[in-house]
């Protein structure tokens, strides 16, 4: 087997739950330097490898720590201990339209949002027609995005994000944006990426979708990795646990 695209090695993440947080100068002065807090381990010693070209699912109930894991994978949180290693360019898709400026036009925002997501100007230049075409907002592309409907806004955001073309894509439940037609279109695009051999890590509640498209799945509960394995098997185990 080729080298793993992502190596999650013994990752733990601790949060501090503040009772009284010294977030103002007054409280810092009044209470002294220490603020009271409890520690909470959202992730404990999670390890798994994602092979290049795999579609990898992460499932778990609410509060299981899967979102924390996703944010660690997306480099938004920094693990307290352990490491995450990437072989290739990683891009994350946790929210569409991040950093859109409402007063700027759709076209200007494609460049802005694209560069936030790690695309170069040249790359965007070569893809701009395709991005506009996919979003379906051609007629309004030179209008300020504040005049967009919420559907147009997310479609444009999704269209930019899906064109980033990273080696590794970390996705939250953003496949459910737009109307049904757009959802089918984006799902097809997603499958294209899979066919192109991109590594995809997906966090989702849609168990059927996960069982269907993911090669391997990890199940996380209370911050601890329960099991990793073939998609359908893990989903079945998770379901059995939920019902039992």
């Amino acid at each position: 087997m080729s080298d793993p695209a992502v190596i999650v090695d013994d990752v733990s993440k601790k949060f501090r739950l503040y009772h009284e947080r010294n977030q103002t100068l007054k409280s810092a002065v009044m209470r002294g330097k220490t603020s009271r807090h409890d520690e909470f381990w959202a992730l404990e010693n999670v390890s798994f490898d994602v092979a290049a070209g795999q579609t990898y699912g992460i499932i778990g109930s609410n509060g299981s720590g899967k979102s924390t894991l996703l944010k660690c994978l997306a480099k938004i949180y920094w693990p307290t201990s352990g490491s995450i290693t990437y072989n290739g360019k990683m891009a994350s898709l946790l929210e569409v339209g991040s950093g859109f400026h409402l007063e700027l036009s759709g076209r200007e925002n494609i460049y802005l949002n694209g560069s936030i997501l790690g695309m170069s100007r040249k790359e965007i230049d070569s893809k701009i027609e395709s991005i506009i075409d996919f979003s379906g907002v051609e007629r309004f592309i030179d209008q300020p995005v504040k005049n967009y409907s919420s559907g147009m806004y997310v479609r444009l955001g999704f269209s930019v994000a899906i064109h980033v073309q990273p080696d590794i894509l970390v996705v939250d439940e953003v496949l459910s944006v737009g109307d049904e037609e757009f959802q089918q279109k984006s799902f097809a695009k997603f499958l294209d990426l899979k066919k192109e051999g991109k590594t995809i890590i997906l966090v989702s509640h849609a168990l059927d979708v996960v069982a269907d498209i993911c090669d391997r799945v990890s199940w996380i509960e209370k911050g601890v990795l329960q099991t990793s394995g073939v998609g359908a098997d893990v989903v079945a185990a998770y379901r059995a646990n939920g019902e039992g």
Partner: protein
């Protein structure tokens, strides 16, 4: 840590500075966002950035030149004698500095949705604000240079030096903006406190009045509280003092700046930027959860 058996594993920590260097384009785009987004849908557009300085010049010139009669400032060797122009040469650098740090202090907190949803080097947030500030400031400086030239100053040969020190002041402002942006995540009072501090800072910097008036007073008092430290010495601890004096020498007097001021300006800029970079990169990893 990164496993050594895979060929050249790209670990997160090691790629950080590469990411910062690669984000030049993002920095440019965010700067453009600040500059272009600001005056969208206004009839005068970018001209509005001149409104504040012009209002300040009119008010201060009336009060300090007409009412209080600050002694005439004759340009040496430029021969200019115009309080308004003398004021502007010091005021524009200050206004740039002030707007950069008042916006910079909020740069992380205001972009919290971005910080919590996308990974990118957070350093570009305060830096892009500084960049946008430099763009506005340059625009103001062009107008100032035209005005100075029309009124008889021979300022053109000094422009490369002016540009150089604009960069130095921008480095100082960026360093301070980084420190303040992070500190504001921990203490949200800071943004409000800063506006108060800037009030004091502005009046304690010789912008509206010449530092010679302070020196006169300083000589009269001598060493303060029995020490050899004079009022003038304390005054010169203000990092903005050398910058204002450098810009006045170059633009208004058309002469070389005082070497002591140049050294002070460079040290303040490099020291603050280094400290800012250290503090920012040290805290950056935890920003998403701290906000």
């Amino acid at each position: 840590m990164a496993k050594s058996d895979s060929p050249q594993p790209v670990s997160w920590t090691r790629t950080y500075f590469r990411d910062v260097f690669n984000s030049g384009e993002l920095l440019w785009n965010l700067t453009q966002r600040e500059v272009r987004g600001k005056y969208k849908r206004t009839a005068l557009g970018q001209l509005w950035s001149l409104a504040n300085p012009i209002a300040a010049i009119i008010v201060y010139t009336f009060i300090f030149s007409v009412v209080f009669q600050v002694p005439a400032q004759v340009g040496d060797p430029s021969g200019l004698d115009n309080y308004a122009l003398w004021l502007v040469c010091g005021l524009l650098p200050w206004l740039f500095f002030q707007s950069t740090i008042t916006q910079g202090v909020r740069s992380i907190v205001d972009n919290s949705s971005l910080v919590q949803k996308v990974y990118f080097p957070r350093l570009v947030l305060p830096l892009s604000l500084t960049g946008a500030g430099v763009v506005n400031w340059s625009f103001e400086m062009v107008v100032l240079v035209i005005a100075l030239s029309l009124l008889g100053a021979f300022v053109l040969p000094w422009l490369p030096m002016v540009a150089l020190f604009m960069l130095v002041l921008a480095v100082f402002a960026a360093g301070l903006a980084m420190i303040l942006a992070i500190a504001n995540v921990f203490f949200r009072d800071l943004a409000y406190l800063l506006t108060v501090i800037l009030q004091f800072w502005f009046y304690l910097t010789p912008i509206l009045y010449p530092i010679s008036l302070v020196d006169t007073q300083s000589d009269r008092w001598g060493g303060l509280l029995g020490t050899p430290v004079t009022l003038g010495d304390i005054y010169r601890l203000n990092p903005m003092e050398p910058y204002v004096s450098i810009f006045r020498d170059l633009l208004y007097h058309n002469t070389w700046p005082d070497p002591a001021a140049v050294i002070a300006a460079l040290l303040w800029a490099l020291g603050t930027f280094a400290l800012g970079l250290f503090y920012f990169t040290k805290t950056e990893k935890r920003l998403a959860e701290l906000i």
